[in-house]
């Protein structure tokens, strides 16, 4: 099949057996790849109601039909599982070089189930797949393990590892790859840790077939050259995503002090310019990328210099603003600590900030925490992150994430546990951005920005108005995740204005399938509805009540900065949700209707949601 490697690799850790099967053409036709494959495979193969930490839960690693090909940004892979953080659908997209290598090894998707008796490294060398003892790597840092594995297996292997946080089942542990690329969200690494998979190493030598090689060569070249000609090609790259830091402060959306406020007066000291001028070592790109956003940096705290890829914007927001770390050097160091421990910096920054606020308010005591901790203090943040990754003392509770931790701690802490559906909020505070707020509320993994980044839309059309906001969110929720199904990066489009029609043009040259952009968007809508059905099936009582942000966002006006006084009361959010559900063809509780599922070719999912309709 053109565009695809053609095989699925299955690994059963319990029996130690591996097997391959041909990729079913209808799976490719209806779900494309990447997150589409993940959604369909999880829905089909994870038995209803299983524990995320169980042999029956699976981890899906899926490339897309455009991954590994000669076109801009073709290095993206999806990791997915029934999330231990949320209990619902969980996926997290990762750059680097992992997706291409999986395809060169002959696979489009890897499905891992069961549990190994001893820690293992899954080594995939073209057709040869083996489970190797991970005894010497277990307990080591995520970056350190990757360096050891590169040394032991060979530099050309592409490696994904977990750190101590994943081994210790921290609910926001991340998968790490290429010394700084992460599949960070929804706790996939914790499931790998439970399964005792320390790392996955892949090397491939094979060619990915395409329908029209001459056409792909011509169009691929054209796509790169158009990227080179874009205004922004030269200007955007030097700072990468960190370049947005000042702007997010300017519009009053920067997570600051556990989202108490939305403007950080020291933002100029943790922005892209500070990164570039003070700590940058080299630009570091993902596979096939003309605009490398990866910034490889070096900082010194203590005896030896520390190297880290980043900080990128999300890390600056959540470890910087949200923990009040006021220099790029401090943020980079905390970034390094997270990366080596294998902690998602977004959730990590949230949880640390939550703990700091609890401490400030006396909800957590010095005795519980083991020392005094405070906002703005790097040592405090690092101390908490290490406790969490090792599940020591208070870290054991915090390792569950802010939702569970706040439910157990009480004392009013739930109102500032900043999450939706159990997933901590990423870098855009949204009390003055209705479409961004709706994006977070309805995102299909929890409070994550990447499905719909709509804050510029609010700024462009008016931040007070609600009109048309649901439409924009839905539009973006179909376009942006489509990239995750195709296995490519969306930043060429988002950041430098590379036009969407080029993807429509190269898709048939690669696959031989004459899909229009609208056809592709419909597949994206299918995937969106299927992940929704997964939530409904797996989470009892799922519906509208699970989409609200914490009370802080619905009741407390922003105290300072450009968005001072703004908040979005629950009644306003209900207007947005009503509009959103209606436009999506869902019922008033946010459950997809049988008609909508049927229309999208998801009739098989109707019985999974029917109980929710009756209830």
């Amino acid at each position: 099949m053109n565009g695809y490697a053609g095989k699925i690799l299955r690994i059963d850790l319990t029996s130690g057996k591996t097997a391959t099967e041909p990729l079913r053409p209808e799976l490719a036709r209806d779900y494309l790849g990447g997150r589409g494959f993940a959604a369909k495979t999880l829905f089909e193969e994870v038995p209803k109601g299983v524990e995320p930490f169980s042999a029956e839960n699976i981890v899906v690693i899926a490339a897309g039909p455009l991954s590994g090909l000669f076109l801009p940004g073709s290095g993206k892979v999806t990791f997915a599982t029934k999330s231990p953080a949320t209990g619902g659908y969980g996926d997290s997209n990762m750059g680097g070089h992992f997706a291409p290598e999986i395809k060169y090894a002959g696979y489009d998707m890897i499905v891992i189930k069961g549990q190994a008796t001893e820690p293992v490294v899954i080594v995939i060398d073209d057709d040869k797949v083996s489970l190797v003892s991970a005894a010497k790597y277990w307990g080591k840092g995520a970056l350190e393990s990757e360096a050891m594995l590169k040394h032991d297996l060979g530099e050309e292997f592409q490696i994904a590892t977990i750190g101590p946080a994943g081994e210790n089942l921290v609910k926001f542990a991340c998968v790490s790859h290429d010394f700084g690329r992460q599949s960070g969200r929804t706790g996939v690494a914790a499931v790998l840790g439970w399964k005792r998979v320390k790392a996955i190493a892949v090397r491939g030598s094979q060619t990915v077939p395409v329908a029209d090689p001459q056409g792909v060569l011509r169009k691929g070249e054209e796509m790169y050259k158009i990227c080179f000609s874009k205004p922004g090609f030269k200007e955007w790259t030097p700072e990468g995503t960190a370049g947005v830091t000042d702007w997010v402060n300017e519009v009053g959306a920067f997570p600051t002090k556990n989202f108490e406020t939305t403007y950080f007066e020291h933002h100029g000291n943790i922005n892209g310019r500070a990164l570039r001028e003070r700590i940058l070592v080299t630009d570091k790109g993902c596979f096939g990328c003309p605009i490398p956003c990866g910034k490889y940096s070096r900082v010194s705290f203590g005896s030896k210099p520390t190297h880290v890829e980043g900080p990128e914007y999300e890390t600056i927001a959540l470890l910087g603003g949200n923990c009040l770390l006021d220099s790029i050097e401090k943020v980079a160091y905390a970034n390094y600590v997270c990366d080596e421990l294998g902690l998602d910096t977004i959730s990590g920054g949230n949880v640390a900030a939550f703990a700091l606020e609890c401490f400030e308010k006396g909800i957590l005591t010095e005795k519980q925490v083991g020392r005094k901790v405070s906002f703005g203090d790097l040592d405090s943040v690092v101390y908490l992150l290490e406790k969490i990754a090792r599940r020591e003392g208070v870290g054991d509770l915090l390792a569950e994430g802010v939702k569970t931790a706040s439910e157990k701690l009480g004392g009013g802490s739930q109102r500032f546990a900043i999450q939706v559906k159990g997933l901590e909020w990423s870098g855009y505070e949204s009390r003055y951005s209705p479409s961004m707020m709706l994006s977070y509320m309805t995102c299909d993994v929890g409070a994550h920005h990447n499905r719909s980044w709509a804050i510029t839309h609010d700024v462009a059309v008016g931040r007070e108005s609600l009109e048309g906001k649901a439409d924009k969110v839905i539009e973006l929720q179909h376009i942006r995740p489509l990239f995750d199904a195709l296995g490519i990066c969306r930043l060429q489009w988002v950041e430098i204005g590379f036009e969407l029609n080029h993807y429509e043009e190269i898709f048939p040259l690669v696959t031989g399938l004459n899909y229009s952009w609208q056809d592709l968007l419909q597949i994206s809508e299918r995937i969106w509805n299927l992940t929704r059905a997964f939530w409904v099936r797996e989470v009892p009582g799922f519906g509208r009540t699970m989409e609200y942000p914490p009370a802080r966002f619905m009741e407390d006006p922003i105290p300072t900065g450009p968005a001072k006084g703004k908040y979005l009361p629950k009644e306003t959010l209900d207007i947005l949700l009503d509009d959103y559900y209606a436009k999506r063809g869902w019922d008033k509780n946010g459950i997809p209707t049988p008609e909508k599922l049927k229309e999208l070719g998801l009739a098989f999912a109707i019985c999974a949601v029917s109980a929710a309709h009756q209830g």
Binding site: Y104, S205, T282
Partner: protein, 129 residues
């Protein structure tokens, strides 16, 4: 033309390898490209690009004369190659390439596509610089 690299400009994206294999073999497979990128991470954090400068060391050691230089560009004449891999040993830059699907080694033919497509000007023509 003389292909050369500015290592410090490289971001490790491998577009050069992609276009090389596509242009010369019409295959999506960086494993079939004629140049190499290696990263030194986590320390010190830099990339190295190995390219062919057409030095001719490969042709000099070939026992069957299967590597022929034409206008300063050395190329492998596959039918004359006995697969001894002496050229691979001899290449000072490590860019006399082999691949499991090909019997004979292969090397850079100075087509210049990598220079054209490198997003970072990390690859360049030394004679024009």
């Amino acid at each position: 033309m003389k292909l050369a690299a500015r290592h410090e400009r490289c971001s490790g994206c491998r577009v050069c390898q992609l276009v090389c294999a596509m242009h010369n073999f019409l295959e999506n497979n960086p494993g079939k490209s004629r140049l190499k990128i290696s990263g030194e991470f986590p320390v010190p954090g830099r990339y190295h690009v190995a390219v062919c400068d057409q030095c001719g060391a490969c042709a000099a050691v070939c026992p069957t004369g299967a590597i022929v230089e034409d206008d300063g560009i050395a190329q492998v004449v596959e039918k004359d190659c006995i697969g001894c891999l002496a050229c691979v040993e001899a290449c000072p830059s490590g860019v006399m390439m082999v691949h499991p699907s090909r019997e004979a080694p292969f090397k850079c033919n100075n087509c210049g596509k990598c220079i054209e497509l490198c997003p970072r000007e990390a690859l360049y023509d030394e004679e024009k610089a």
